[in-house]
């Protein structure tokens, strides 16, 4: 078995499962929030902040931002390991891939931390 030091779980099956579980959570979340927005029609601040500020949604939002982080990392890891390789782009492939993965990892962490501040900081 070939293991990669940059994959999330250092194990393809674990990454596969993380990708699926986070996908299902994100799908449900997206449908609930879009459904709420469509049902509201004209959204007011009171309704929106009441919806997003209730404990259930604060917990759902926290799950969502963590799922976004995990899902994005596994997905972009897959994309970078497929296209940013020595075979695809030449001898600098490994260096380019590792730099791209570093930037993606840092951005993902920033997204998660920023999201948590938005979700919990305003209350």
């Amino acid at each position: 078995m070939v293991t990669s030091v940059t994959s999330l779980g250092r194990n393809g099956l674990s990454d596969w499962l993380v990708q699926r579980v986070s996908a299902v959570l994100l799908a449900i979340y997206t449908l609930v929030v879009l459904g709420w927005l469509i049902a509201q029609g004209e959204v007011t601040y009171e309704a929106w902040s009441g919806f997003m500020g209730c404990l259930v949604m604060q917990i759902a939002n926290t799950f969502m931002i963590v799922a976004v982080g995990a899902h994005a990392w596994v997905g972009l890891w897959t994309v970078t390991t497929d296209y940013l390789t020595n075979r695809q782009i030449g001898a600098a492939g490994t260096v380019v891939r590792l730099i791209a993965q570093l930037v993606i990892a840092l951005l993902t962490l920033v997204y998660v931390l920023w999201g948590l501040v938005i979700i919990w900081g305003g209350a």
């Binding site: 299902v24 929106w48 305003g122």
Partner: protein, 128 residues
């Protein structure tokens, strides 16, 4: 084990010389939409932050979202979300062992494009 990985076997992975069948187009579009969504996350987080900060910033954000360019950006993000969602559900169905044949793969890909196109048009109607 490592010896196998380093074997000099003939490989053609020059993507520019490969003709893409429909399932491959469905797959690469799923990836492009995923990368686009990663780039769009700051926009969504910023909108969430501004919409919740205060009644004033909520009103400003709502005003901003009435601009044609803002509507186009929102629609583009929704399009990426909807395609990625539909193609993702196709993935989960195929994980279950359904539609894994050559013909099933083609049908699933065409169906994903069709369903996503309808949803994206509906999203456009909703945004405008």
């Amino acid at each position: 084990m490592m010896a196998n990985v380093n074997d000099k076997r003939p490989v053609n992975l020059d993507l520019t010389t490969i003709k893409f069948p429909v399932p491959a187009l469905a797959s690469i579009t799923h990836r492009v939409a995923g990368v686009a969504l990663f780039v769009a996350i700051p926009i969504l987080l910023w909108l969430l932050d501004r919409s919740l900060a205060s009644p004033e910033s909520f009103a400003q954000t709502k005003e901003l979202l009435t601009a044609p360019l803002a509507k186009l950006v929102v629609w583009a993000i929704l399009a990426a979300v909807l395609y990625h969602l539909v193609a993702g559900i196709k993935h989960l169905i195929m994980d279950w062992g359904i539609g894994e044949t050559l013909e099933g793969g083609r049908r699933g890909a065409i169906l994903s494009f069709a369903i996503a196109a309808v949803l994206i048009i509906l999203a456009g109607v909703w945004v405008w």
